[in-house]
């Protein structure tokens, strides 16, 4: 009797495994070829492409688990239904609870899966230089040439040219309720437009002039918190031409919902043309901007910016006051 039960169990396990395997391969292949290329956030940048692969890969791993549950459920309903003539009695009780093979298999399979996913996630984060996420002021994973470009950005001689494999530094300045952008390699001009060259490593340096915001360029797969007096650096490499949307993803006040704009990835030549013409057009205002810095202290000298809820006036600061060059009194 025991041998007969054992044979039946083996038989059922084999049936379920075969059905599960065939269905999993079919569904995974369909997902890979039909859905995979359309998984967000697309392929506009290296980080977007990396995340698309990650999402697709995780789905490919999750689908067999889902199919396994459904196949087992379907098989049980079909084969072990009590209404079915000649249905076998399900094996329950101590035999099921003390089955070492099942228990060890469960622990090993889930442990391997979790450890593998942890390793996979870490590797993906490293090889994509942070996967488009803000890495803080001292990023660990940087693309080649980023450190040099970032250091040069603070000097008046910073420059960038097309087809040079240089990293383009872009400063994202958040304020209630608009993002503005500074280009230190083009004289430090500031603009409300975000234009990027294709096939270029971009270093986004994100900061805020007031409260906490978050810079989220969805199609670029770049997302970094914008904190006052903090520089949050995120990297990506542009791959495709096109438009993308920038939104603030941190609730920042009444007009938070209007804090968005669109940006463009254009050819390197078109970018050079835009940057040079904007630098020229904005020259008068650029001369009035403070020197380029990673962070700025919100002004404490007028326009109510200096008055805080405690009713005190924050004292003047001689440095880094955004938009103010006058000396301390």
């Amino acid at each position: 009797m025991a041998n007969e039960n054992s044979t039946n169990e083996t038989h059922h396990l084999r049936n379920i495994t075969v059905i599960w395997l065939i269905l999993s391969v079919i569904v995974d292949l369909l997902f890979w070829f039909l859905v995979g290329p359309h998984v967000p956030p697309g392929t506009m940048t290296s980080s977007a492409k990396g995340n698309q692969f990650d999402f697709t890969f995780l789905c490919l791993m999750a689908l067999p688990v889902l199919i396994g549950v459904w196949v087992y459920m379907g098989y049980a309903i079909r084969i072990w239904s009590a209404k079915r003539p000649g249905a076998e009695e399900p094996m329950t009780g101590p035999n099921a609870r003390t089955n070492k093979t099942a228990q060890v298999s469960w622990i090993v399979i889930t442990s391997v899966a979790v450890l593998f996913l942890a390793g996979f996630g870490t590797v993906e984060l490293v090889i994509s230089q942070g996967s488009g996420g803000g890495e803080g002021p001292n990023p660990i994973w940087t693309p080649p040439g980023a450190t040099k470009a970032e250091a040069a950005a603070l000097t008046p001689k910073a420059s960038w040219s097309a087809n040079s494999n240089q990293v383009l530094t872009v400063q994202v300045i958040a304020q209630q309720w608009k993002f503005t952008y500074r280009y230190p390699q083009f004289g430090g001009f500031e603009t409300t437009q975000l234009v990027l060259p294709a096939n270029t490593n971009i270093a986004f340096n994100v900061t805020s002039l007031d409260v906490i915001h978050s810079f989220w360029a969805y199609q670029l797969d770049v997302k970094a918190d914008a904190n006052p007096q903090q520089n949050d650096v995120a990297f990506t490499q542009t791959k495709q031409l096109g438009s993308f949307t920038v939104r603030c993803s941190e609730l920042c006040g009444i007009w938070h919902g209007t804090m968005f704009n669109s940006g463009k990835v254009v050819s390197e030549a078109a970018f050079m043309s835009w940057a040079q013409s904007t630098e020229q057009a904005n020259a008068q205002n650029t001369a009035d901007l403070p020197p380029f810095a990673w962070t700025y202290v919100p002004d404490a000298n007028g326009a109510a910016g200096g008055y805080y809820t405690d009713g005190n006036v924050t004292p003047y600061s001689t440095v880094e006051i955004y938009g103010s060059k006058q000396s301390a009194p």
Partner: protein, 227 residues
């Protein structure tokens, strides 16, 4: 105290806390004054520009927040000043805007807003003199801006000299010190476009962006552009 007394005290305090929290939430979301929509489409002939006149004052002087800074708009049909910041405008039309700036100025938190952007010709006029950018660290500084982010429109409104007898409550008359800023812009297709001041002028609020900066009918509103 008896158990019943303790229980009554705890429940009473809880109800007071709930009432206070509810009052705080309602006070926060309630607009400062009931606002309407100022209609600039009535009687507008297609192809003709629309005249829109507004003023900014350092203190509105009435209503629930008399000390708050505010915009006012001139009703095109009656000529009266009204505290409304939702303006209905015709689509694809030129808006000739005049802003009487009665408030004093200061350096901008972000000098980017010292630049005239998105107007026809890329300029505005200050008391008749054309300008495309204003260094807020000089002169009388910038008091406010009129900015419609979605249209890329932004004009710095240069402040009056704070040592002059600045108008203290609305509506201000042209006999008070003021700057007249004019510019034109073209409305896009139908839609709702928010506008705001980019000078954090909410005195007494964190970073100056609460109070009048976060309440409709003071320093921000909507352009309701209709066909």
């Amino acid at each position: 105290m008896s158990m019943r007394g303790r229980l009554a005290t705890v429940i009473g305090l809880f109800l007071v806390a709930v009432a206070l929290a509810g009052w705080g939430v309602v006070s926060f979301i309630r607009p400062g004054v009931p606002g309407g929509v100022m209609d600039f489409t009535q009687g507008h002939a297609a192809g003709q520009p629309v005249d829109l006149t507004a003023q900014t004052v350092g203190a509105i002087g009435f209503g629930p927040h008399p000390t708050w800074v505010s915009y006012l708009v001139k009703d095109p049909s009656t000529g009266k000043w009204v505290q409304d910041t939702t303006w209905k405008l015709p689509a694809n039309s030129v808006i000739d805007m005049t802003i009487l700036q009665y408030d004093s100025g200061s350096p901008l938190r972000n000098q980017e807003w010292g630049q005239v952007q998105g107007t026809i010709g890329g300029t505005a006029t200050l008391n008749g003199t054309s300008y495309s950018a204003y260094n807020s660290n000089t002169g009388t500084g910038v008091g406010h801006t009129f900015t419609v982010p979605a249209l890329g429109l932004s004009v710095p409104l240069i402040g009056v000299n704070s040592s002059d007898s600045v108008c203290g409550s609305a509506p201000c008359m042209t006999s008070s010190p003021h700057n007249t800023i004019t510019f034109s812009f073209k409305t896009p297709g139908p839609g709702s476009y928010s506008w705001q001041c980019f000078v954090p002028c909410g005195l007494g609020y964190l970073f100056g962006n609460g109070g009048p900066m976060s309440t409709l009918n003071y320093m921000g509103g909507q352009l309701e552009v209709v066909q």
